[in-house]
């Protein structure tokens, strides 16, 4: 049994942390989030060129550094600490994860683009009617000669305004909620027939409502086999959830540390408020939640490579823990900061907002609790 990181992973963490300390402090982030574009392409370039982290989790034969989920975890925890808005998960984990399995020359080329920082992907999976179900799809792709014609509407596609390509789930067969008949396409954003309505999100990102109106795609747009993408999609989304849990750990650490720091310096009734037992116990409970979240995030990364059912169970269990911790730690961080926690000026509220959105990302706590129930308990019953 070993929960330690390799020396390389330690160096990776240090270099990411050092870069973010220099280039991603709270004021710089705030300015970027408020800017017209809402992100900093030069930071992305630095991720590719100076840090090499866009290729950290890709195999060497694809031009990566030969790492895996643990490298992603290390990066994402640091990103959580700095509230990085740039679309690492949707590009590297989802886009890269799906393309890696496609095996075509077109896909390899796109992976080269991802590693080099020139290709950014946004994951267009959710639909207005489907809530957190991956397979509830009204978006269709119809065979058209050698290629495809895409029609449909995707909801809250985070990072779409920044992306060069959209990863789109669409139905090529089956009924609206069937796993069978689901396909994945990689769609250049420049394709004609794409209509995007962009807007900011409460946690400082940008997203779009994306409509596809008879968007014509070549055969190379299809990722994997037509109509059989469901297992791959579930696997890659589980990997993305694991990475999101790692990001959440960074956010949770900052919420807890910030609260400790604030309550030690804030004085009321002639003493630091951290001296009050009721607040001490609250901060201990927050700490327990943070530690449990770190444990579940490790667990998730250890099991993310297991067969589908075991993997899904582990990932959903981790997401339930993370979701609950995000709520409890987030809410109490604000509460213990008092009025100051309510201000836009202090960083703590921005961590709380990110934590709140993470609760629902790739499925809410209830969604994953139910998935866990189905996999773990219903089978035994």
């Amino acid at each position: 049994m070993d929960f330690s990181f390799t020396e390389e992973q330690g160096l990776l963490r240090d270099s990411v942390a050092a870069y973010l300390a220099d280039h991603y402090d709270f004021d710089k982030r705030r300015a970027a989030v408020k800017s017209a574009d809402g992100w900093r392409p030069e930071v992305w370039k630095a991720f590719a060129e100076d840090l090499g982290i866009l290729g950290a989790s890709f195999p060497e034969e694809l031009g990566g550094l030969g790492g895996g989920p643990t490298e992603t975890m290390v990066v994402m925890e640091e990103f959580g600490r700095a509230l990085v808005v740039e679309p690492y998960i949707s590009t590297v984990v989802v886009g890269g994860g799906l393309l890696r399995h496609a095996g075509t020359d077109a896909a390899k080329e796109l992976i080269g683009g991802i590693i080099g920082g020139d290709v950014l992907t946004a994951f267009a999976w959710a639909e207005p009617q489907g809530r957190y179900s991956l397979f509830d799809l009204k978006t269709t792709a119809r065979k058209d000669g050698a290629g495809w014609v895409l029609n449909g509407q995707k909801a809250v596609v985070v990072g779409a305004p920044w992306a060069t390509h959209l990863i789109v789930t669409a139905r090529t067969g089956g009924a609206q909620r069937d796993a069978q008949g689901v396909s994945v396409f990689v769609v250049p954003k420049s394709a004609s027939g794409i209509v995007m309505r962009d807007y900011p999100t409460v946690d400082g990102r940008r997203a779009s409502e994306v409509s596809f109106e008879n968007v014509r795609l070549g055969p190379e747009a299809l990722v994997g086999e037509a109509g059989a993408a469901a297992p791959l999609l579930e696997q890659v989304v589980d990997e993305a959830i694991a990475a999101t849990c790692a990001e959440a750990c960074g956010v949770l650490h900052k919420l807890h540390e910030g609260t400790l720091e604030y309550t030690k310096q804030r004085k009321q009734f002639g003493q630091p408020i951290a001296a009050f037992q009721v607040l001490q116990h609250r901060m201990v409970d927050m700490f327990i939640q943070v530690e449990q979240s770190v444990s579940m995030t490790y667990m998730a990364h250890i099991r993310v490579g297991e067969p589908a059912e075991e993997r899904a169970k582990a990932i959903s269990a981790a997401k339930v823990q993370i979701g609950r911790a995000c709520k409890f730690v987030g809410q109490n961080a604000i509460q213990l900061h008092g009025g100051m926690g309510m201000t836009d000026e202090m960083a703590i509220g921005h961590y709380f907002k990110r934590a709140t959105i993470i609760e629902g990302e790739f499925g809410s706590t209830d969604h994953h609790l139910r998935r866990y129930e189905r996999l773990s308990l219903d089978k035994a019953a």
Binding site: T201, E209, V278, G360, D366
Partner: protein, 402 residues
């Protein structure tokens, strides 16, 4: 022990319902649906309509404009307002300052200020908290020294800073706690002053809160001259007024009727919002159970409030038990916003405050707009009016005698 409505009560409910339906400004209703901030005129418009009808200040003594309604009628009144989605009458003048004035004020002060509060002529704000005095309010440092002005009259010269002043950007007047004697124990050196916000030396600076709104402010007081006759009650006995006011603030804070309305809205939304399993969200056993638990919690709060009101009408003022209402009331308000955000699913994430209306209207269902902002903003309720931790201290000390 009964909760039956008499025929008169039923008729009263009908009268109230009709009046609201016929008189509530439609343009205000439209604005409430958007995320646009309400203007001072918006806030005052409904209050003034009620003032004309004589219903702006039901809880006041009849001689100053109270309606003399029974507790049942007041209960009906707050329910009907909530269910008609009217904007709330702002509490600062009507339910916070006014009781202090009629309890501790001079006849001149009552005559000068109460009618203008009732008729929504003056907008009042609260100058209590300071950067260094939040939960420990009595440690406040804003200083008021007696001086004789060039006109030979007596003044207080006020210097200091107040914070979290809600809607202070609109205020004509403010009621302030200031230190008039720094050499005694903190509670014994505080006075209660009424300050004209147009007085030279007052600066109001916005504080933007985490959801992006401008509701609260810092208020800086730099050599602000306040006529001595604007002090309520005796010098150095302002803490008595402050405490009385806080108890009124706490009992109003339960917000049962509004929470009932929001619960109804949550049920409506979750009947149309899809669950993961294609049915409506309200058919999802996990979500349904949370709504049921919340309803039960709210019923318990409602009956606790009714018991408190029954006690008040039999002559007891709101006591330290009102802290229960504050704790449970705000917890329920917060839980409602949590579930509303959860119900919105993906569409909880868009931040549409600065997005043009015609674009925003195309992004997700209308009922999801702003739910995250409301959730974030509502975190304040367990912090303001004496944090919920402080409320527990009050119950421990004053009710349980610990």
């Amino acid at each position: 022990m009964d909760l039956d409505f008499s025929p008169q009560d039923v008729a009263f409910r009908e009268e109230v319902r009709t009046f609201i339906a016929e008189n509530y400004p439609p343009e205000l209703r439209e604005k409430q649906k958007s995320e646009d901030a309400l203007s001072k005129e918006d806030y005052f418009s409904w209050h003034r309509i009620l003032a004309k009808k004589g219903w702006a200040t039901p809880s006041w003594p009849v001689e100053w404009g109270g309606t003399g309604w029974t507790p049942t009628q007041k209960y009906i009144w707050s329910e009907e307002q909530a269910f008609a989605d009217t904007i709330a009458i702002l509490p600062f003048g009507v339910s916070m300052l006014a009781p202090v004035l009629w309890t501790f004020g001079t006849q001149e002060q009552k005559e000068r200020f109460l009618p203008r509060i009732r008729d929504a002529i003056d907008w009042w704000c609260q100058g209590y908290s300071e950067p260094g005095a939040g939960s420990d309010l009595a440690s406040l440092k804003t200083r008021a020294e007696r001086i004789t002005g060039d006109d030979g009259k007596e003044y207080y010269l006020v210097n200091g800073q107040k914070t979290w002043t809600t809607l202070g950007q609109f205020a004509d007047w403010g009621f302030f706690l200031v230190r008039t004697d720094p050499n005694v124990k903190p509670q014994a050196g505080i006075s209660f002053l009424l300050i004209d916000m147009k007085t030279p030396g007052i600066t109001v600076r916005p504080i933007i809160t985490l959801e992006g709104g401008h509701e609260v402010n810092d208020v800086f007081l730099d050599n602000v001259k306040v006529p001595v006759e604007n002090r309520v009650f005796h010098e150095n006995q302002g803490w008595t007024c402050a405490k009385a006011l806080l108890q009124h603030e706490r009992s109003g804070i339960a917000g049962v009727a509004r929470s009932k309305r929001n619960l109804e809205r949550l049920r409506e939304v979750s009947r149309t919002e899809p669950s993961d399993d294609a049915g409506p969200l309200l058919a999802d056993p996990f979500f349904k159970r949370k709504v049921a638990e919340l309803e039960i919690d709210l019923t318990a709060l409602e009956f606790t409030e009714l018991r408190t009101l029954a006690g008040e009408s039999s002559g007891k003022g709101p006591g330290p038990e009102s802290s229960i209402l504050k704790i449970k009331g705000t917890e329920i308000q917060q839980r409602l916003t949590e579930l509303a955000l959860e119900a919105a699913g993906h569409y909880g994430a868009p931040y549409l405050r600065d997005v043009p209306h015609n674009l925003a209207a195309t992004i997700g269902p209308e009922e999801a707009h702003g739910v995250a902002g409301v959730y974030f903003n509502t975190r304040k309720t367990s912090i303001y009016g004496g944090s919920n931790e402080i409320q527990r201290n009050i119950i421990a000390k004053l009710v349980l005698g610990l």
